[in-house]
């Protein structure tokens, strides 16, 4: 963990998943990390721009990385799997091909944008707090024990695979979320689909194929007795939480399992104000029992 990061929340945390942004800022403050804003960045393209217009994708990525560099930040802090993979893929391409980087920088100069010299790394919040001094720092602020809370970790794909670009941990047997769940005093629940895909990238274009994927983690986590699922990715969150209704109809059974962002789980253990979690923004509501186990006071009446 470092003391200062260029903070790239990505579009989901900035718009529809604002609860992730506020929880992240709150936890960063507790950890004494400075999050430097990046006011001019665009969407990273979520693999879609990468697929549709690869050259444009490399340009907008170089522009994002160049802005971090100009702000004097060595590392971008990401809170989204998809942003993490996309920016790291672009970074690798730019760092390994000087001719490509030169051409892109010429174009960036021509439109008056910041150029990129190749000196930035992209790290996900999960990686920063699940090992080394970041892990120690988190343990020291985890003052509340979430004893009795059963948490199913859902990693999602693009923080694990392909490991030659991500490479933080064994993609077939990751343990970082489990480590953090334990550090919160909660109990990690194991189930096979925790490393599989939630189907989000195709949920609009190929709904049935996507729902067939989405039901697996929901079904398995519920069956294994989990109270909540926690995920490091706002896209995984969106599909597990907001598309849960559709998955339930598709599978012909109810799940009713609340989905937490990683920063919310960490925040609960760190005793952060409930208002930062913005649970009202979740589609699948947290029951009073789950809130009690999360140790967040459930003000009945103001929140379901």
């Amino acid at each position: 963990m470092q003391e200062r990061y260029a903070y790239y929340p990505g579009c989901l945390a900035s718009l529809s998943q604002k609860e992730l942004d506020s929880s992240t800022r709150a936890i960063a403050q507790k950890l004494d990390i400075e999050l430097v804003e990046m006011p001019s960045v665009t969407c990273c393209g979520a693999g879609d721009i990468h697929e549709a217009k690869p050259d444009y994708y490399l340009h907008i990525s170089a522009r994002i990385l160049g802005q971090a560099e100009q702000m004097g930040c060595e590392t971008i802090l990401s809170i989204c799997n998809v942003c993490t993979l996309n920016l790291r893929q672009a970074n690798k391409a730019l760092q390994e091909d000087a001719a490509l980087l030169n051409r892109i920088n010429d174009n960036l100069k021509e439109v008056g944008a910041a150029t990129y010299q190749g000196g930035v790394d992209i790290r996900h919040l999960l990686w920063e707090v699940s090992e080394g001094n970041g892990y120690e720092a988190f343990k020291s602020i985890a003052v509340k024990s979430l004893e009795g809370l059963k948490v199913a970790p859902f990693y999602g794909c693009q923080i694990l695979r392909p490991s030659k670009i991500l490479g933080f941990e064994n993609p077939d047997n990751p343990q970082s979320l489990e480590r953090l769940i334990e550090a919160c005093g909660a109990e990690p629940i194991d189930y096979p689909a925790k490393v599989k895909c939630c189907g989000f990238p195709i949920v609009l274009a190929r709904e049935d194929v996507a729902l067939g994927e989405l039901v697996q983690p929901l079904e398995q986590a519920v069956e294994a007795g989990a109270d909540v699922i926690v995920t490091p990715c706002p896209l995984c969150h969106l599909s597990l939480d907001a598309w849960q209704r559709k998955a339930a109809d598709f599978a012909g059974k109810e799940f009713g399992i609340p989905i937490l962002h990683l920063a919310q789980l960490l925040g609960a253990a760190a005793g952060i104000e409930e208002s930062e979690f913005k649970f009202k923004r979740h589609v699948t509501r947290l029951s009073p029992e789950v809130k009690a186990k999360l140790q967040v006071p459930s003000a009945i009446g103001t929140e379901a």
């Binding site: 990505g10 579009c11 989901l12 900035s14 718009l15 529809s16 604002k18 006011p39 001019s40 665009t42 969407c43 979520a46 693999g47 879609d48 721009i49 990468h50 697929e51 549709a52 217009k53 690869p54 050259d55 444009y56 340009h59 907008i60 522009r63 174009n107 021509e110 439109v111 008056g112 944008a113 794909c157 693009q158 694990l160 695979r161 392909p162 490991s163 030659k164 993609p171 077939d172 599989k196 895909c197 189907g199 990238p201 195709i202 609009l204 274009a205 190929r206 049935d208 194929v209 996507a210 067939g212 994927e213 969106l238 907001a242 209704r245 559709k246 009202k280 923004r281 979740h282 589609v283």
Partner: protein, 351 residues
């Protein structure tokens, strides 16, 4: 143990000086006659250099001759020995046994996924070959007559399809493909990597037809980007990247009608409209207005939770004009560019 006297031969030491180890493997058996599955655990003595395939050979030789698996080259070339090792598909001949023995770990060996099992570790590759065949895995130059001399492909043109040409058709990428689990008819990573190998071939003249077919049901837009294929491929083909290249080629050729393509386009547009993606536009633009109406109750549920940003107050990143100018610049550049083509042998001869 053979003493190696000649210093020149010390590089061969491994071949003579066979230090041994005990390897334990748990194997999923499938008996087609009884239609029953079971797990058998075997311990065999093998050289420390043994692969998982060598260990299977030792089991077959010394313990159970009925154990069924495929192999041929035992050097990661033929693509026969794909199987799941601890749940993830890999070539048995390319996976060293020692790391597991050192860790005191008993590996579980099972057949590849997404394909029917015939016996033990042998899967039926017929559905795999069917999909490979479906993408027309051969060059179509529309030549009525075979030219007298060979086509010459410039090295930089060869590079464009180099990775995809490395495929040994082993099926490891297909084994954990999450979209194929959900849609068994999905063409899948191996066939799509093969498709790109010909779409990107500068001699092939069937590009548009190929792309049109790949943009249909069960085609490239089925891929959920789980990246299991890139993770598993033992030859560095990176099938998911090939699928992304097929998407980019489809855009170049104007195939933008598929929901998957429309979805991708919303992202592109959002960057220069406001910087960040506007999910309000994503749903109707991807699935079209009629379907979006059907989804109104669902959309309302999302809206209540604040998941649908107000369309009237778009997010605006600072300095977004830079991005607009960038887009225009690149579009101008791309307009002039033609698809690279290899020269026909006859033209080379005459010219």
């Amino acid at each position: 143990m053979t003493e190696i006297k000649n210093a020149h031969l010390t590089t061969l030491k491994g071949a003579y000086d066979t230090e041994l180890m005990e390897a334990t493997l748990r194997i999923r058996r499938w008996d087609p006659d009884t239609q029953r599955a079971r797990f058998d655990t075997f311990t065999v003595t093998v050289p420390v250099t043994a692969s998982v395939l060598d260990a299977l050979d030792a089991i077959k030789d010394t313990h159970d001759g009925t154990l069924a698996y495929r192999k041929s080259c035992r050097m990661a070339v033929c693509g026969s020995c794909g199987m799941r090792i601890d749940g993830g598909a890999a070539l048995a001949c390319k996976t060293p046994m020692k790391k597991f023995v050192d860790a005191g770990h008993t590996i579980t060996v099972s057949p590849m996924g997404n394909l029917p099992v015939i016996k033990d570790l042998v899967v039926d590759m017929a559905p795999f070959w069917e999909k490979i065949r479906a993408v027309k895995p051969y060059l179509d130059t529309k030549d009525e007559e075979v030219p007298d001399t060979e086509w010459r492909v410039a090295p930089e043109h060869g590079d464009m399809i180099h990775k995809e040409s490395l495929c040994i058709l082993c099926g490891c990428c297909v084994s954990e493909c999450n979209s194929m689990e959900s849609d068994p008819d999905f063409l899948g990573p191996a066939a799509l990597a093969k498709a790109y190998r010909f779409v990107g071939d500068t001699r092939d003249t069937d590009t548009r037809e190929r792309l049109r077919d790949l943009n249909g049901a069960h085609g490239i837009w089925d891929c959920t980007r789980c990246y299991f294929c890139n993770q598993r491929c033992p030859k560095g083909v990176d099938p998911r990247d090939a699928i992304a290249k097929l998407g980019a080629e489809s855009f170049k050729e104007g195939f933008v009608r598929d929901e998957g393509a429309r979805h991708a386009k919303v992202f592109v547009d959002s960057t220069f409209k406001g910087g960040y993606l506007r999910e309000t536009e994503l749903v109707p633009k991807t699935i079209g207005p009629v379907n979006a109406v059907k989804d109104i109750p669902f959309a309302l549920q999302l809206a209540r939770a604040g998941k649908v940003p107000n369309p009237l107050s778009p997010h605006k990143a600072k300095d977004n004009d830079e991005v607009k100018r960038l887009w225009k610049l690149l579009e101008k550049e791309a307009k002039g560019a033609e698809r690279p083509r290899a020269q026909h042998p006859d033209a080379v001869r005459e010219g």
